[in-house]
Symmetry: C2
Subunit: 204 residues, 2 copies
């Protein structure tokens, strides 16, 4: 029984996602994808022509899931401190559930930086400007400290994502097993936004 008659095309994409995201483009094997999808190698080529094309489908998919979550920080009308709280909480929750996605995207973009131009569109350009001017306004009105908007954006994303990329290293340094590390990440949903707000808020 199980997933008997969903689209073969989708079964392939699902299996490919697992394999590519854990092994990377170069480490992935078409045979393993076929096995995991419950079909044979020939079918992979029937649907996707080549390993490269299949990989691109998986990558674009991952990026398409990731981008809207990320873009929320640029794109909200909430008051700034609430925006930070919500973004940090939501984004860390998302990455906790899909921890393969960031390392996959980062890794493959470093392998082949040109890929980004195919997926990013100009979506981001406009929204970054709007956040930047929002931050600059808060600086001028004296609600937050003088700070570079771009640096602040980098900081927010860094604090949310990095601990998931570096989990093997950090969990060893901090002597945390899997469960304890997960608890630490859970804590971060509130810790990080407090940290950021403390860094920028001007006390009256």
């Amino acid at each position: 029984m199980v997933s008997s008659k969903i689209n073969t095309e989708e079964k392939i994409l699902d299996a490919a996602k697992d394999v590519f995201q854990s092994k990377g483009m170069d480490g992935a094997r078409m045979q393993e994808i076929a096995d995991k999808a419950g079909i044979n190698k020939a079918m992979l080529h029937y649907y996707y022509r080549s390993k490269q094309k299949l990989f691109e489908a998986v990558f674009k998919n991952a990026f398409t899931i990731m981008a809207p979550k990320l873009i929320k920080i640029f794109d909200s009308e909430e008051p700034f401190f609430e925006l930070i709280e919500h973004f940090v909480n939501d984004y860390i929750s998302f990455v906790s559930k899909h921890s393969y996605i960031p390392i996959f995207i980062i890794q493959e973009l470093n392998r082949n930086p040109e890929m980004i131009k195919e997926v990013i569109a100009e979506k981001f350009g406009k929204v970054t400007n709007s956040l930047e001017s929002k931050i600059e306004k808060l600086v001028k009105s004296g609600e937050i400290r003088r700070i570079s908007a771009q640096q602040l954006i980098i900081n927010i994303i860094s604090l949310c994502v990095f601990p998931f990329l570096a989990r093997p290293l950090l969990s060893e340094i901090l002597q945390k097993d899997k469960r304890a590390y997960k608890a630490l990440m859970e804590e971060r949903k509130t810790h990080v936004s407090e940290f950021i707000i403390n860094a920028i808020k001007i006390k009256q």
Copy 2:
């Protein structure tokens, strides 16, 4: 002239470093390493027996360069705020010069998390404790805000390293070319420590 008669073994390790760090274990080709070292494939096996062994030599080397720089944050006797300033400045300088190393280590540790146990020794365990108790002391004496020592450590490392891992993504989002992104990283040498200190310092 040039590097004519340095050890063949070192020439190999140098070439292997370049290739493994830009292509990863799976993407690297022994032929390319041989070409870059100016010798032939047979020599690679003569000196290192297998691709795996050569890779391990490169990985341990990279980790051995990285670890002492990282460990400085745990291991210094400076006053805490100065420690942060110096660590952030030095670590970002280091990563700027060797930007392949962090992505290489992170990537390969995710591919094979067991590797860490072979390289990390217990060096880290002791020093983390010492930093943690130092932070806890500052919390109790009211010099810095109540904060989890471990979260703070994660934050510091995140803010230093992540922008180099995510450069292809961030430089596209922020619309920075290579030169402008480098300038942003230069700025971070002071920006990040100010940000951290503002986040934790208690104003009188």
